[in-house]
Structures are given as C-alpha cells and as structure tokens.
C-alpha cells in the first residue's frame, strides 16, 4: 500500500507540456537571442587565446601569479602550462579558459549589480535568497535538461548553463560585502552630501571589493567545474577531451584532460584568491617597492586600484 496506488501525478507530462507546448514555441526566439551576446564574447576570447602564442600566455599568467601570490606560484604556473603544452592539450585548454572567462565575465556583469541591489533592499534580498538557495541546491546535471530544451546544444548553451550555475556566490558575496561596510562610514559619506550613487561608488563598492573578489573566486571555481560538465551538451575544450576519453574507455586521454583542468584550476584559483586575501600584495615595504620598481606598473595591488576603478 502506497500513495501511488491511490493517485498518480502525471508530473512528467506536465513539465513536458509546459516546456514543449508553451516555452519552446513561444519563447524560442528570445532564448536564441540570449545566446547572441554570449556567443560573441566567447568567440572573441576563443579567437584571442588561439592567436596569442603559448609562451606569451604563460608569461602573462606567471607574471600575474608572481605579483599577486608570490614567486612559488609563478614557477608552478610556468611548469604547469608547459606540461599542458607538452601533452598536446594547449588548444583545448585555451578554449576552456575562454569559456571560463566568458562565464565569469557574464556572472560579474549580472551578479555584482544584483548583489548591490539586494544589499540595498531587504525586501529584494528576501525574494532573491530562496532563488539563490535553489540554484545552489539543484545538481549541475539537472540544469542541462531545460538548457538543451530551450537553447539547443553547443558552446553557447554550455556557457549559459555555466553562468546560471556559477552566479549565486558572486551575488551573495557582493551583498555581504556591501552590507558589511561600517555604518558610520556611510553616514559620513551622506553627511558630506554624497548622493546614493557617490556613496556606492566612493565608499561601499571599494570597501566591499575584497569580499566581492572572494565571491569572484568562488564563481570561478564553480564555472570551472560546470564548464567540464557542459561538454555533455556540446561545449568543447578540456571537458570534451575528458568526455571522449570516458566514452572510449581511454583512461590516458581522460586523465590527460583531467590533469589539464586541475592545473588550470589551481592557477586561476590562487590568482583570484590573491586578489581577495587581505594584506596580500598591498604591503608597501621595501621588497614590494623593489618589485614594483623591477616590474614597472604591470599589476597594481588590488587595494590601490580601488580609486582608479571607481574614479
């Protein structure tokens, strides 16, 4: 005896009817249109990373890692990237990198303003929070089904799935960062006649920057994992290598793809963490001064670029 003996809900049919009968015929053009900007940006990055020589990319990342994290990380970057190149996965890695950068870019563009918005209105935050909770609870695989239904298969749908999957942390952390700005600082800004926009750009965003950066790091990591899964619906890059390896039971190929992903993940994670960690890269001691003297103005520590960004 179980409830199903009494009543069977045709849940599957309902969803099918809703998606196939309503969403797809009525909103297909809209979903197609949504892909356009994603596709444009993705192809731009993809073409760029395909064009830049491997050594230049490695040098740029090594320099960034050196300035933001330290010498050790720079060496890891160089060794890791050379390894990827030597196992002949460089083009795939660059595709994955382009996909990740595209997703993170869209996540930032969408997530930071939403985060700011919900930080300023308790009501908006109450509405947004359960949505974010759901987004973070739904397993990444489950996203893929409606995405395929609505957007089709290919690179752009893969990126869109990634964007949706990786969006919550940056919204949460932006919200948190803005809300945690000391009340008397906001009061001070207001007392000197700052408009709400001036208060936001001059005080709140710069002070929330580290927390936002931590959110960006989380988003990046989620994007990283999703980009691989997105290969299931036709996105390329290292994910495809792993998938193909799995399909053919080619352990070597799958492992090679996996190692490439791990190396890329480590490098990106450490660099973005470096931006988010307090105290890193903002010391004005002798060594830091010498470093900036040697390397010129390549990379400014995060804390000092606040005013420039908001100016």
């Amino acid at each position: 005896m179980s409830p199903s003996d009494l009543l069977i809900l045709p849940f599957e049919d309902w969803i099918n009817a809703f998606v196939r009968g309503f969403l797809v015929p009525n909103f297909r053009p809209l979903f197609r249109a949504l892909q356009v900007p994603v596709n444009e940006v993705l192809q731009g990055f993809d073409a760029f990373f395909a064009w830049v020589p491997m050594l230049a990319v490695t040098a740029a990342f090594a320099l960034l890692a050196w300035r933001v994290v330290g010498r050790g990380m720079a060496i890891v970057t160089i060794v890791g990237f050379c390894f990827i190149d030597m196992i002949e996965l460089w083009p795939e890695t660059m595709t994955t990198l382009a996909m990740i950068i595209t997703s993170v870019l869209f996540c930032t563009v969408i997530g930071v303003p939403i985060g700011i918005l919900v930080a300023r209105s308790d009501r908006a935050w109450k509405l947004t929070r359960p949505i974010l909770d759901i987004m973070q609870t739904v397993p990444s695989f489950v996203y893929l089904v409606p995405i395929v239904m609505l957007f089709g298969v290919g690179m752009a749908p893969g990126i869109i799935a990634t964007i949706i999957f990786a969006l919550p942390p940056i919204i949460r952390m932006t919200n948190l960062g803005i809300r945690n700005v000391r009340g008397d600082l906001i009061e001070a800004a207001e007392a000197f006649g700052a408009t709400p926009t001036q208060t936001l750009l001059e005080v709140q965003v710069p002070l929330a920057m580290r927390t936002i950066m931590a959110g960006l790091n989380q988003t990046l990591m989620l994007a990283m994992s999703m980009v691989v899964i997105a290969a299931l619906i036709g996105a390329g890059g290292l994910g495809l290598v792993v998938n193909t390896g799995l399909g053919r039971l080619n352990v070597g190929q799958a492992t090679a793809g996996g190692v490439g992903i791990v190396i890329l993940a480590i490098v990106l994670d450490r660099i973005t963490q470096g931006f988010a960690e307090p105290g890193k890269g903002q010391k004005t001691g002798l060594i830091a001064a010498l470093k900036s003297f040697v390397s010129g103005q390549t990379v400014e520590p995060a804390s000092q670029t606040y005013s420039d960004k908001t100016a």
Binding site: D184, L185, E187, E190, A191, F192, G193, E202, P206, L207
Partner: protein
C-alpha cells in the same frame, strides 16, 4: 548676533508607524508609559534651541539620552518626527533630498566619534571628500585638503593611509575633513570620546585655539561634563530626550536646574569653571594723582584698608594701604605712596590660576584684556566659590563677606560678561 541654527519643537519617535505615539506624547503621557503601552520609543522629546554664530553649543548627556539622535537630525541623517530645523532659510527637516545634499555640502559638516575615515582613501583624499562629492577638480581639492590639514598640523601626512595614524591624528583628519568645505556649522558627535585622556585634553585645547581663529558655529556632543564646561559657550544638559537645562558653564554649576544636574555638577572642579571676572567685585579705586587725605576719605567710605590705584586711562598701576596713607602728609599724591607690586590677574583667568596671586593675602586686582582695572578679589573669598554647596554659589556675596571686614560698597559680581571672558581660555 546672528542665529545660525534654530531648532523648534523637534521630536523623534522610533517605531511609531501609525503616529499613535506622537499623539500620546502631545497629550503629555510619560515616555516609559508610551513605550510600555504601544512599544514606541521617544528619542527626542520636544527640543528647541538656537545656536548663535561663532558659538560652541555643547549638548551633554549620558548614553541613551538622545544626544546623538538629536545631532543627526540637525544635518538630516535622521528625519525628526516633527519640528523644524532652520539653517539659513531652509528647514532641514522638510526640504527635499537635493536641497539637503546642497546644505550638507556647503553649510554643515560633521566629525564622528569613531573618526569614520574612509580606510581605502589617503588622508588628503579623506579630507577632500566633501569637495569631491561637490564636483571640484583634482588640484583644487588637493590644495584645499592641504590647507585644512595644515590647520590641524598634519600637512606632512597628506599621503598616508588613515590606519597609519594614531587615534588623535585620525581625529585631527576627521576635523580637517569637517573644515575643508568651509562650512558654517560643524557638528561634532563625541569627537574625543574614543581618545585616551591625555590626547583628549590636548585635542580640547587645540579645538579652543582653532576656534579662536575660525569662529565656526559648533554643536558639540559629549557625555563628559568637564569637557562640556571647558569648551561650551553654552551647554544644554539632556536627559531622556529632553533638555533639562541650557546655560553657560557658570550658570549650570552655580544654579543647577534640578537634582539631576545637581548630581552631575557635584564633582565638578569649580576652580576650572569660574573665572576671575565671575567672582571679582566692584571696588572703589583711586586715581593716581589723588591726595592722601582724599584717598583716605574714599577708603573710609568704602570701609576698606587697601585700595587699588589707576591712572588716567583706568589702567591698574598699584595699591595703597590705609597705614601708608595715615603715616603720610595729607597732600602727598597717592602716586608717591603706592606699592606698585600688586597681585593681579586677568579677568579670564580661572580660579585655579589665581592661587599664586592669592598667597600674599592682599586683595587681588582683576584687569580686563587691556589692563584696565575692573574689580578686586579678596583671597579668602576664593574658597567660598570652590565649595560645591549650592548656597555658596547662589549667594556669592554672603559667604565671601563673612570672612572679611564689612564691605558696604554694594559689590556686584561682574558675571555679566562671562561669555566673552570664557572664549579666551589661557593655555595652562
């Protein structure tokens, strides 16, 4: 004297969404009763006052008295439930956001208890913040910031970050930020409350010196009565959201309005509150060319044994005693008989600066800032003014005279110009 800020019947109720609390308050219900019945907190209860140009108006109260709420209504950070706050021709309580910003940018700034410096901006950028939101160019801002920093002696730290400075220095930056836009009114919300005592003392003295030069209208919030008495031209004592008493330091110490204020002033060091001109008495003085016989007649009439001698411009030149006059020939001019080494103090001196002058036991001459003779103080009467017993302050003549030879010349305290004297606080 121009009135810079006028506050009329301002009340602020928290949590009063339906306006019930306000109507109950208007009916004269007690605040705790209102809170108990409908959960509405009365932050400010019908406060009215005026602040004159160039005055330091101190609002003193313990925590929870509503002083911080009150000061925040003055620049519109908190909107009062009712009442008017007039700055120039504008009512801060009711003007629109745009006008309010304009007022904040030009006419009224604020110094905060915990400095509230922006940690991501340099000292100069912090100071120039008000000018930045006003839209001034980079060079102009920088110049104004350096000027404001020079006023507080920190021009060399313009490019430091705030967390590299000590607490006292940070609050100086806060003060410079308040001054950089050259506002008419400066709100100071317990600005020295977070500093340790020595630094606080230093900052208080510095503010007094700075104020002499700037002559800003300052509304100063504090919970420290000694600070209030030291800085305030006028002081408002606040309790439970309402003003208990408003007056000069001397008023409050000598005539506390009720037991609450009395309890506060009980521990006050009166020797730092009253000045020589507060306690000096009118005394007959003798022009320098008077003959001894005439001088004796004056002293007989006044019933004193010592009189101060002044020149044609009323400047203090010396003192003569009955003894010398009686011993001399009747037509000798006083000028030949007087003792030129007379203990004297300036009218602005506090009692605690008069102890040396009082050592000789002779009456102390009190002079104004030009050196003109304004009155004298019997050393013994000083003690009367130090007693915290209210009657001593109330009846300034009685107590003082008990210990002295009768002094028929009706002596009136010269307390009327305390305000002027108060502004010139000498460095100790």
């Amino acid at each position: 004297m121009t009135i810079k800020l006028k506050v009329e019947n301002v009340s602020k109720l928290f949590n009063d969404k339906r306006g019930e609390g306000l109507s109950l308050l208007k009916q004269g219900r007690a605040k705790d009763e209102i809170f108990r019945d409908i959960g509405v907190t009365v932050g400010i209860d019908n406060v009215s006052f005026e602040v004159n140009e160039g005055e330091i108006f101190v609002i003193m109260g313990l925590s929870g008295s509503g002083k911080s709420t009150l000061v925040r209504t003055l620049n519109g950070l908190i909107k009062p439930t009712m009442g008017k706050i007039m700055i120039g021709g504008d009512d801060v309580a009711s003007c629109d956001a745009k006008r309010l910003r304009e007022i904040r940018r030009r006419e009224i700034t604020m110094v905060f208890q915990h400095f509230a410096l922006f940690p991501h901006k340099t000292v100069a950028e912090n100071v120039a913040f008000g000018l930045r939101v006003r839209g001034l160019g980079k060079d102009e801002r920088r110049q104004a910031a350096i000027e404001a920093l020079a006023r507080v002696g920190l021009q060399d730290h313009a490019d430091s970050m705030p967390d590299q400075l000590s607490g006292g220095m940070q609050q100086r930056v806060g003060l410079a930020r308040g001054l950089a836009t050259d506002p008419e009114i400066l709100l100071m919300d317990e600005p020295f409350g977070a500093l340790d005592p020595l630094i606080r003392r230093e900052m208080q003295d510095e503010l007094i010196v700075l104020q002499k030069e700037l002559k800003k209208t300052i509304i100063f919030i504090t919970h420290d009565l000694n600070e209030a008495l030291l800085l305030g031209d006028r002081i408002a004592i606040m309790k439970d959201g309402a003003f208990v008493q408003v007056g000069t330091a001397q008023d409050i110490v000598s005539h506390p309005a009720d037991d609450y204020v009395r309890a506060f002033v009980a521990d006050v060091d009166r020797s730092r509150v009253f000045t020589a001109s507060d306690i000096a008495k009118d005394a007959d003085h003798i022009p320098v060319h008077t003959k001894a016989i005439r001088a004796l007649a004056v002293m007989d009439k006044a019933g004193v044994d010592l009189a101060h001698v002044v020149d044609a411009k009323e400047m203090l030149v010396g003192a003569v005693t009955r003894e010398t006059l009686e011993a001399a020939k009747p037509d000798t001019p006083v000028a030949d008989l007087m003792d030129t080494d007379v203990p004297s103090v300036s009218g602005e001196s506090y009692i605690n600066e008069m102890y040396t002058a009082a050592q000789s036991g002779a009456p102390i001459a009190v002079t104004d800032e030009d050196g003109k003779f304004v009155g004298s103080i019997e050393p013994a009467s000083i003690f009367g003014h130090l007693a915290s017993d209210e009657s001593a302050g109330d009846d300034e003549d009685g107590t003082a005279d008990d210990a002295l030879p009768p002094q028929p010349a009706a002596p009136e305290p010269l307390g009327s110009d305390v305000r002027d004297a108060k502004q010139e606080r000498p460095n100790q």
